[in-house]
Symmetry: C2
Subunit: 107 residues, 2 copies
DNA sequence: GGAGTATATACCGTCAAGAGTATGTACGCG
DNA sequence: CGCGTACATACTCTTGACGGTATATACTCC
């Protein structure tokens, strides 16, 4: 099974995730919208499911795929320690003073 | 050249980035710390450099590799639209009201 | 139960990323 | 100038992800 980061390394899979941002979709919908064949779409969704990015709800012949927050949250949290590198240091709330001090040290 | 997401899909490369969080390091340092052979480390650093994750400063035989914010920022920004999925909706500042409304619509 | 729809999976070929190893290059120093 | 250090690159091999195609499964409706 692919890791969280590996899953999103494929542009096609990132596009699928983007399409699911506003609610669940069926395999056919996604395949049509992205111009991907149905079997390949099914395989990507399988990968996304195995790695926790989506869940499926069965409805007769249709499968509704829905986004799950966990893997995306995990990635966001991995990135968090680097945020000071590009964010304005004089943010209003004065949070992250330690981080800012680190920054000075490592310049 | 690999895309931003592809670069970090390899655990070894993520570890390199983590090691560079607190300032520049040389190839040898990184190789030793991570238990990776020097040639392979050089190749990873080449990849990280080609994709904009690091810059090099030459100093005699030594090369000091330093993190650049841009690719990490890019990834963080890609993830931003999904943040509402895991964050507390009643955040103090009351920002992102639109996002929260979206959430209701798509439930 | 037969036909059509929606989706999953099995099988196959390709290709490129990654690891390993050997070698090249550049610099400092005695 | 010869040697050691620090690093890059060339080369080879292997592996597995990906796409394509064909086929299986499951459900609905007439």
């Amino acid at each position: 099974m692919l890791s969280t980061f590996e899953v999103l390394s494929l542009p096609a899979r990132r596009k699928i995730v983007e399409r699911l941002r506003h609610g669940p979709k069926s395999v056919g919908e996604l395949a049509d919208e992205l111009g991907i064949s149905q079997p390949i779409m099914s395989k990507h969704l399988r990968t996304l499911r195995d790695s926790g990015f989506v869940t499926v709800r069965v409805d007769a012949q249709r499968r509704w795929y829905e986004l799950r927050p966990e893997p995306l949250k995990e990635m966001a949290e991995w990135l968090e320690p680097y945020r000071w590198m590009w964010e304005d240091r004089l943010d209003l709330l004065g949070e992250r003073l330690d981080t800012m001090r680190d920054e000075e040290e490592n310049r």
